[in-house]
């Protein structure tokens, strides 16, 4: 036994025994500068050349570097691989067809003139609150060579039964002044209504319809709104940061129960609310709204190495005043005012950003409930994918709303960034009165996708303090501008 061990050790030791080193230093190599010395040149090519399969000069090959046992995980992954490969074929096929048949160019050739200034094309959109919308656009760009633009639009589905409209903008034709005219007809069959005020939401329909004038109990309901909208605006660029915008809208609206047959009947506004108490519901609304907004906007990206569609620093301060009057016998009579401050902080090279926002919208001049002067659809609102996230669209409406937002954004790739947000807000009977009810809180996380110059979409998961969960897929950034004239 000991002999065997000894023999083994001797055998091993013999392999590492050292002999007297023999070192011969040759002349310095040909290219002998320290940072770039060339070793001895390789031998010149030997002629004739060898066939590819004879190049290696190998007589007996080495052991494979991959374990023979690799067949086990390969076998295990075989089916998942096939399944995955099959599952991605539609995407691959779409990519193949798109390029193979040059669909982009064919699309433009089929829908636009050669100079790409005039064309008609189909569109499709998705709103997580309403579903899919399809439609068409007719576009005439750069009409007189100064970015003037005329757009005709038609939509079907989603939030619309149908909608048609036309928009004309003067582009750069008038220098710092830009005019925009818009006219549209919309049939909106499923708009939300949750009552007026800051009341708690109930799930079970009440025995009697709620009188929203005196009872702020909230319950999800829907109504139909048919509207004719005519909007005009003049935007004057006073300087790079300062802008003034005068806008006016004449709107005629007919309101009625939702015709959506897919919805349970008791979800209709008339089953849940006493619509005779909702200003404008039974008589319709025919009013004009005029507003002036002054804004100071220095928001901007801080680096060319981040998407130019998301701001990373700067301020937005804006304030507005507006007034509405009824046309003919419409009783509308109120004024509106409000403002917003946004501040962006670039925490790290434009890729980590803290955004803060406070905003107030209010209407005054009437009490909004009992005197019949403020249509309920004109009351400021909170909820949805931008203003007080975590709550349904139009969840809160009252004579005033206040909103505060803190949002932390961080880049996760060249084409995507994510954000965490915390919104607090409250509908108020008046800005001067003590707030009634709890402060509403929403929070959540989102992912937004963009290219260098185009915002593509954002998906966000928003939670409310009360436990609501909303997923929104939106095709515009958060912190956009809130349009009031003709939009509320």
């Amino acid at each position: 036994m000991n002999r065997l061990l000894a023999l083994t050790l001797v055998l091993c030791a013999a392999r590492t025994a050292t002999a007297e080193p023999v070192v011969v230093v040759t002349d310095p190599p040909r290219r002998s500068e320290p940072t770039g010395v060339e070793p001895v040149p390789l031998p010149p090519p030997v002629e004739p050349a060898a066939k590819p399969d004879q190049v290696s000069g190998i007589a007996v090959d080495d052991e494979p570097r991959t374990s023979r046992a690799a067949w086990i995980p390969r076998a295990l992954l075989f089916v998942p691989r096939l399944v995955f490969w099959g599952a991605v074929q539609p995407v691959r096929g779409a990519a193949y067809v798109y390029e193979k048949y040059d669909l982009r160019n064919r699309f433009f050739e089929a829908t636009f003139t050669d100079d790409r200034r005039f064309g008609a094309y189909p569109v499709a959109g998705y709103n997580s609150n309403f579903g899919v919308t399809v439609g068409a656009r007719v576009l005439y760009k750069d009409i007189f060579g100064d970015a003037e633009r005329l757009e005709l639009a038609a939509d079907y589905g989603g939030e619309f039964l149908y909608a048609v409209g036309a928009t004309l903008t003067t582009g750069n034709r008038l220098g710092p002044v830009r005019l925009e005219l818009e006219s549209s007809i919309e049939r909106r069959p499923r708009d939300h209504f949750y009552g007026i005020g800051n009341g708690h939401e109930i799930a079970t329909p009440p025995e009697r319809p709620i009188d929203a004038r005196v009872d702020d109990t909230a319950i999800s309901s829907r109504f139909r709104q048919d509207l004719l909208r005519n909007v005009g605006s003049i935007r004057i660029k006073l300087s790079d940061a300062w802008k003034n915008r005068i806008s006016g809208a004449w709107m005629k609206r007919e309101l009625s129960r939702s015709p959506d047959t897919s919805m349970t009947d008791d979800k209709n506004i008339e089953a849940r609310y006493d619509t005779s108490s909702l200003v404008g519901y039974e008589t319709g609304i025919d009013n004009v709204y005029v507003e002036n907004e002054l804004s100071f906007d220095t928001r901007r990206p801080t680096t060319r190495f981040a998407t130019q569609t998301l701001d990373a620093t700067g301020w937005l301060v804006r304030g507005y005043v507006g007034m509405a009057r009824g046309v003919d016998n419409d009783p509308t009579r109120y004024y509106a005012y409000g403002g917003e401050i946004q501040r962006y902080f670039d925490l790290t090279d434009g890729t980590q950003i803290l955004a803060l926002r406070v905003m107030v919208d209010a209407v005054g001049g009437a009490d909004g409930r009992t005197d019949g002067r403020i249509p309920f659809v004109d009351l400021p609102r909170l909820g949805g994918s931008e203003y007080l996230r975590g709550y349904a669209t139009g969840r809160f409406r009252d004579r005033a709303v206040a909103l505060g937002t803190a949002e932390y954004q961080w880049g996760i790739s060249n084409n995507a960034s994510s954000y965490l947000f915390y919104d607090i807000g409250q509908p108020l009977a008046s800005l001067t009165e003590t707030p009634d009810g709890p402060i509403r809180m929403g929070f959540g996380v989102g992912l937004q996708f963009h290219t260098k110059n185009t915002f593509l979409a954002r998906g966000q998961l928003a939670f409310s303090r009360e436990g609501d969960i909303h997923f929104n897929l939106v095709f515009s950034p958060a912190f956009g501008r809130r349009e009031r004239a003709g939009r509320y």
């Binding site: 013999a14 025994a17 940072t35 190049v55 290696s56 190495f305 994510s418």
Partner: protein, 545 residues
């Protein structure tokens, strides 16, 4: 006691087996013949191979997730490069020609690169035959007054000089290292030098559109337009070569492309040059003289230019859609640090987002996954690094001059950055493979000597005392009992006497060399020596482990 005794016997037997049965020099053996330095892959074809039309969107889909995922699930074999000779070097072929280090390249040759024909800038006017206007790219095809066809490219206004300079610099380097590239020229033209040809007019190009397009490009103070003209490669273009597989209709294309060291070994080279626009589209095959020749084209996004053009600071660090690190950033709220943090532009005209401080030679990524480069192993990277290290500072400076940057500080910055990145690359990859190279047998009257160069010492990448443990084996892998330790010679070149095996007539001997440096023993290099038919002793094979 019996079980214990049996266990002891088994243990000792196992120990003995571990020392004797599995040879430390592996099982590979080479023919006793001189290494092959040229591949005959020019057998005339009966018909040209089919033209491959690249499909960019499908390429991106496959790169981003489809093929990338299935490739990962295939658990492919770890394959040693297939297009190497017995010395683990790449012989000349239609893919590659050994140039710098093998041949003397003068400064003039390095500056000229492959350009052997007259410059089109001396043969104006140019007749535009086609155009590509749109997006962020603008290019034309034209014929010069000698009726030669070129592709014409410019610098965009917002990044003057950068793209054309990057292209020319990298083009010259890549050629010097051995790759096939077209003849590319840099110069200035007047608007009046451009004439719209009938073909281009038929495609809708007119004077107004040309003028509008040229409004987007950089012009010198005197109104001259800086331009890069790339001559169409000789022969008939048949599309790019695939990043995976081979041309099945080309019998000369016998090695899977992802197994080619020529391509896998590009990793350290393109990391060094930050050539992130690495994709099939930037390669071209040409059917010339009855066979296919393989080219690399379009280097204008290298040297950090793509990062500026795309507004992407992560360029070179992440793929365009790199889901795993994006998820990691998502879940860590972007709070973890990144290698590109703090990377800034120099403000020098013509310089991209390119530095040495934020460069890690092992972490570099192209804009989209490019399989051959992703499949590189330590040995491929060693080969590529060895090539790029051959360019000396004054040679790099001369090549950078060819970029014709108007600000001398920009040329100096690029040269210095290239040098720093070159040395970082050398240190990185020469630490992962025993960096011994240029093996040769010097036969004297009494005994042969084995000479080799330690590239780490040679390029002064490290200065630690170094010794080499050398031992020898016969063809069967049995120790010849020759074992010595040798101290490194000056400048990394060392020669030492070796004792050859006399068990075979050709004295086939396998010499194992292990580098001992900074308390570490590196994986060995195994050198096979044998007597050729003409009686000369020669290194007939080599593998690094």
């Amino acid at each position: 006691m019996r079980p214990v005794l049996a266990l002891l016997i088994a243990g000792v037997a196992g120990l003995a087996a571990s020392c004797g049965s599995s040879s430390p020099v592996g099982s590979i053996r080479f023919h006793a013949q001189a290494p092959v330095w040229r591949v005959d892959d020019q057998t005339p074809l009966a018909a040209p191979p089919k033209t491959r039309k690249p499909l960019r969107y499908l390429y991106k889909v496959d790169s981003t997730f489809a093929r990338r995922a299935t490739r990962a699930m295939e658990l492919q074999d770890d394959v040693h490069a297939r297009d190497v000779n017995s010395l683990d070097e790449v012989p000349d072929s239609t893919w590659f020609t050994n140039r710098i280090g093998v041949k003397d390249l003068t400064i003039e040759e390095l500056k000229r690169g492959p350009n052997v024909d007259p410059s089109p800038f001396d043969h104006k006017p140019w007749t535009i035959t086609g155009s590509k206007i749109g997006g962020r790219s603008l290019g034309f095809t034209f014929e010069d007054s000698l009726q030669r066809t070129f592709l014409l490219k410019f610098d965009l206004k917002e990044v003057p000089e950068a793209e054309t300079a990057a292209h020319i610099i990298v083009h010259r380097i890549v050629w010097a290292l051995g790759y096939n590239v077209p003849q590319d020229f840099l110069g200035h033209i007047d608007r009046k030098d451009l004439v719209i040809g009938d073909k281009a007019r038929e495609k809708g190009l007119d004077e107004q559109r040309l003028d509008n397009a040229l409004e987007l490009v950089h012009r010198r103070g005197d109104g001259q337009i800086r331009a890069m003209a790339s001559r169409f490669v000789p022969g008939t273009p048949i599309g790019p070569y695939a990043r995976e597989g081979r041309r099945t209709d080309d019998p000369n294309d016998t090695v899977l492309h992802e197994h080619r060291r020529t391509l896998r070994g590009q990793y350290p080279i393109f990391a060094w040059l930050d050539h992130t626009d690495l994709k099939e589209d930037n390669t071209i095959d040409s059917f010339d003289n009855g066979h296919v020749v393989h080219y690399l084209i379009d280097f204008g996004k290298a040297l950090g230019v793509m990062a500026i053009g795309e507004g992407d600071r992560m360029n070179g660090y992440r793929f365009q859609y790199d889901i795993p690190p994006a998820l990691l950033d998502f879940f860590t709220l972007g709070l973890r640090s990144h290698r590109w943090d703090g990377k800034q532009l120099t403000g020098l005209r013509g310089v991209g987002l390119f530095d040495a401080e934020h460069f890690n030679p092992g972490d570099w990524k192209a804009n989209y996954p490019y399989w051959p480069v992703l499949d590189h192993d330590r040995f491929d990277a060693f080969w590529g690094t060895k090539l790029m290290m051959r360019l000396e500072p004054h040679e790099l400076a001369a090549i950078v001059e060819e970029g014709q940057l108007s600000d001398p500080r920009a040329a100096e910055y690029i040269t210095k950055t290239l040098l720093h990145r070159q040395r970082a690359t050398g240190r990185y990859w020469f630490d992962r493979v025993a960096p011994l190279d240029a093996f040769a047998i010097e036969s004297t009257a009494n005994e042969p000597r084995l000479c080799f160069t330690d590239l780490t010492l040679h390029y002064l990448l490290r200065e630690a005392p170094t010794t080499y443990a050398i031992d020898a084996y016969d063809r069967r892998g049995t120790s010849t009992k020759f074992a010595i330790d040798v101290a490194a010679g000056p400048r990394g070149r060392t020669c030492t006497a070796i004792r050859l095996s006399d068990k075979d007539p050709d004295r086939y001997t396998i010499v194992r060399l292990r580098v001992k440096r900074e308390g570490r023993v590196m994986p060995p290099v195994v050198v096979h020596v044998a007597k050729l038919r003409d009686g000369r002793l020669e290194v007939v094979g080599l593998r690094r482990r």
